[in-house]
Amino acid sequence: MHHHPETLIYDLAEIARQIRLDVLEMVYRRKAGHPGGSFSCAEMLAALYFHHLKIDPTQPDWPARDRFLLSKGHAAAALYSTLARRGFFPVEDLERWGHLGAHLQGHPDRIKTPGVEMSSGFLGHGLSVAVGLSLAQRLKPPHYHTYVLMSDGCMQSGVAWEGALAAAKYRTSELTVLMDYNDVQLDGAAHDIMPLEPLIDKWHAFGFTVLEINGHNIRQILDALDTALEIHSTPVVILAHTTKGKGVSFMENTAKWHGAVPNDEEFAQALAELKGYRV
């Protein structure tokens, strides 16, 4: 089995905490954004960008870099924090998220923001784009791996399942889906709004290898990312069970915090909880 030292796990957990703190401040400052779905993917972003991905922030266009696509574009704040903390652009830029003339748009914009591989916003595109990247690197080396972070909302869209058909046809083992399965969407619980279950069966039926993990357990995330690279016969989905709003008690598992802004008291409480949070 893969060996990941305890210090690495600890460091990545601290980065995930920093991402949440950044997101909280960004949403509070801008009076707009999506805290719930940003918090649910913080550990996965930390594990990818601060350990697993082959990237070089000084060369965002390095041809052999791994590609990461945020299909759930509403987690833009989490991605922006991650990219800034990883060195793609100054952390101070986060303060100008959504300002006129700033490079940080409401949802990710690949033209404007260094490190953003693909523009996104409306749900479901990422898997098909990842299939295209996987096919491209077969024809035009250097080879790389493509990661796509999808939400349960993404998986309600037809285009995502069309992409799954294509991934199966072309056996794009060069791509790994991370599914942030927090089971909460804008209007309520995903299992009420438009159920996805039995989701593992569906991914299997579409030709994917499924690795099921706790999406907040960094060791499980790292192990699954390593395992996915050893599977060469099928594309892989890491089905990560997560908690929407993870880390702030009153935000956890509530649709309200999909796209809500904390007031002063809520901000203070959330800040205190995130600073005191221990993995």
Binding site: I111, M118, S119, F122, S128, G132, L135, E162, L165
Partner: protein, 313 residues
């Protein structure tokens, strides 16, 4: 009339260009035997991806291929491509400015036998409203073939519509094409007829009919509807004082609208619009007679020219 359908000219040109440019890849949505991308598929099977009836995903896969440095030509019927995959085109091609070449086959009424579901009569309007996207409608087979390398080598997304049918020959093999530059097919001083796609040949025929009545009609072929050759159109408005636009497309939002927008602010002159008048049209027995019955006939262009001349000050 050309010996081969425009789609065949495109299919042959694409397959030939594939040999010169190894970055070109082709995607089709289970209609490669109709769009004739099968010519490319037969020669370069490793660079051809048949995506089945997944138009929306196909456009996104094309965007991914472009991000990976390939030059994807993404093909299906124009109506399917621009309607079913409209949001994918907006978000992942136009907004993300990916180097995707969107090729809409069966443009206008050219799929006469399959009827209104298959007609593409608002694709230009939709694609023209997409920032970053070039919109191209070649006038004949020569232009269709010339466009393949031009749009492949243009750095940015392009939408090109191609007729299913044979279209009138307008240009000979010496014709040179430059993206964004309209072509003066015939000189003239009384009125200017501005056509795109399969209507250009009909515009030339209308000009001949008008010449017999001693009316001097200029004919412009606009293969690049966006960006429009505003200079050429301003000049025509200024020098002839009356315009007729002709397109195998709805009069709402296509070439005619683009021309009206262009002259409205500088040289407002009478304009008459030949196109599909806000209907779905109907199934026909062949493309030419269907076009005639749908208000796209040579006689319709001639009548429009007279109306424009009457309104001319």
């Amino acid at each position: 009339m050309s010996e081969i359908p425009q789609r065949q000219a495109y299919g042959i040109a694409l397959a030939d260009y594939g040999e010169r440019n190894p970055d070109v890849v082709v995607l089709d949505a289970d209609v490669s035997s109709s769009t004739l991308t099968k010519f490319f598929a037969d020669r370069y099977p490793d660079r051809f991806f048949n995506m089945g009836v997944t138009e929306a995903s196909m456009v996104d896969v094309g965007a991914g291929l472009a991000l990976g440095g390939a030059i994807p030509f993404v093909n299906t019927f124009a109506a399917l491509l621009t309607l079913r995959a409209c949001e994918q085109i907006r978000t992942c091609v136009a907004y993300a400015r990916t180097n995707v070449k969107l090729i809409g086959g069966y443009a206008g009424l050219s799929d006469y036998k399959d009827g209104p579901t298959h007609f593409a009569t608002n694709d230009v309007a939709l694609m023209r409203a997409m920032p970053n996207l070039l919109v191209v409608a070649p006038s004949d087979n020569v232009e269709a073939a010339r466009m393949v390398p031009l749009i492949a080598e243009h750095d940015g997304p392009v939408y090109m519509r191609i007729s299913r049918a044979a279209v009138p020959d307008v240009f000979d093999e010496t014709h040179t094409v430059e993206l964004g530059k309209g072509v003066t097919v015939l000189p003239g001083s009384d009125v200017t007829i501005i056509g795109s796609g399969s209507m250009v040949g009909r515009c030339v025929q209308a000009a001949s009919a008008l010449a017999k009545e001693n009316i001097s009609a200029r004919v412009l072929a606009i293969h690049t509807i966006k960006p429009l050759d505003v200079e050429l159109i301003h000049q025509a408005a200024q020098e002839t004082g009356a315009l007729v636009t002709a397109e195998d497309h709805s009069v709402l939002g296509g070439l005619g609208s683009a021309v009206a927008e262009a002259v409205g602010s500088c040289y407002p002159v009478p304009i008459e619009f030949i196109g599909i008048c806000d209907t779905f049209a109907e199934t026909g027995l062949d493309t030419e007679s269907l076009m005639d019955a749908s208000g796209l006939g040579v006689a319709d262009i001639v009548a429009a020219a007279y109306r424009a001349l009457q309104r001319k000050r």
